[in-house]
């Protein structure tokens, strides 16, 4: 069974440009999450989808970030325009249920470098 896949693995862009990150969750997982780790800091929650609906987007930094999950399958996270402080590793995770003690399955992350 394929795990969570993310693309691209690394993106280098200039300040003001746009970047779109993609996540394909494990098949059958209705719950999809985006997290971000800025260098040396904790991994922070960005948002949570249940199927195509946003369950919680309280962690999204500002309106330069837009997440979508078309048809409840893959998800994209767009940063427009990118700023220097957006640099970090963006992790996607999925799970069958968000209730209780089910663990999240993470992708390898997309490293974003904004110059």
């Amino acid at each position: 069974e394929a795990g969570v896949t993310q693309f691209p693995s690394h993106s280098v862009i200039e300040k003001g440009q746009t970047v779109t990150l993609r996540c394909d969750p494990i098949s059958g997982h209705d719950n999809l999450y985006w997290y971000r780790r800025v260098m040396g800091k904790e991994i922070k929650f960005l948002l949570h989808f249940v199927k195509e609906s946003k369950q919680d987007e309280s962690g999204m930094p500002n309106n330069r970030f837009l997440a979508e999950r078309t048809g409840g399958t893959y998800s994209t996270l767009k940063v427009q325009p990118a700023e220097l402080e957006d640099s970090g590793v963006y992790f996607c995770a999925s799970s069958q249920t968000f209730l209780g003690g089910g663990e999240l399955f993470f992708g390898e992350g997309s490293r974003l470098t904004v110059l």
Binding site: V4, Q6, E42, F45, F91, G101, E103, F106, E108
Partner: protein, 114 residues
């Protein structure tokens, strides 16, 4: 609000020695606790979790962790470390009253020398 603290940025041990990675947490309700590991150029991998029951939980690769409610701790342990255990370890907590949001610590880099 829930939070996790990993007081050590780095832990260095010799191969064959015991390994401990510390974690303390803060939640308003009862916690679900997790440990994840990130090997170089890899994603986060689930190691083990505490939900309820026995305070000592066993996980992958010979790791175990002990839940201590009075000290609000969930330290990760391995009796005999291997060089291949060198990685970045994250502790995470989920508050049962807010049960979909997983909060992570800043991570601890473990280096096991041969």
């Amino acid at each position: 609000a829930q939070s996790v603290a990993q007081p050590e940025d780095q832990v260095n041990v010799a191969e064959g020695n015991p390994l401990t990675v510390k974690c303390t947490y803060s939640v308003s309700g009862n916690p679900y606790l997790f440990w994840y590991v990130q090997y170089p150029n890899r994603g986060l991998q689930f190691l083990l979790k505490y939900i309820t029951g026995d305070n000592l939980v066993k996980g992958s690769y010979g790791f175990e962790a002990e839940f201590n409610k009075s000290q609000t701790s969930f330290h990760l342990k391995k009796p005999s470390a291997l060089v291949s255990d060198s990685a970045l370890y994250f502790c995470a907590v989920r508050d049962m009253s807010n049960d979909y949001k997983l909060s992570f610590g800043a991570g601890t880099t473990v280096t096991v020398r041969a």
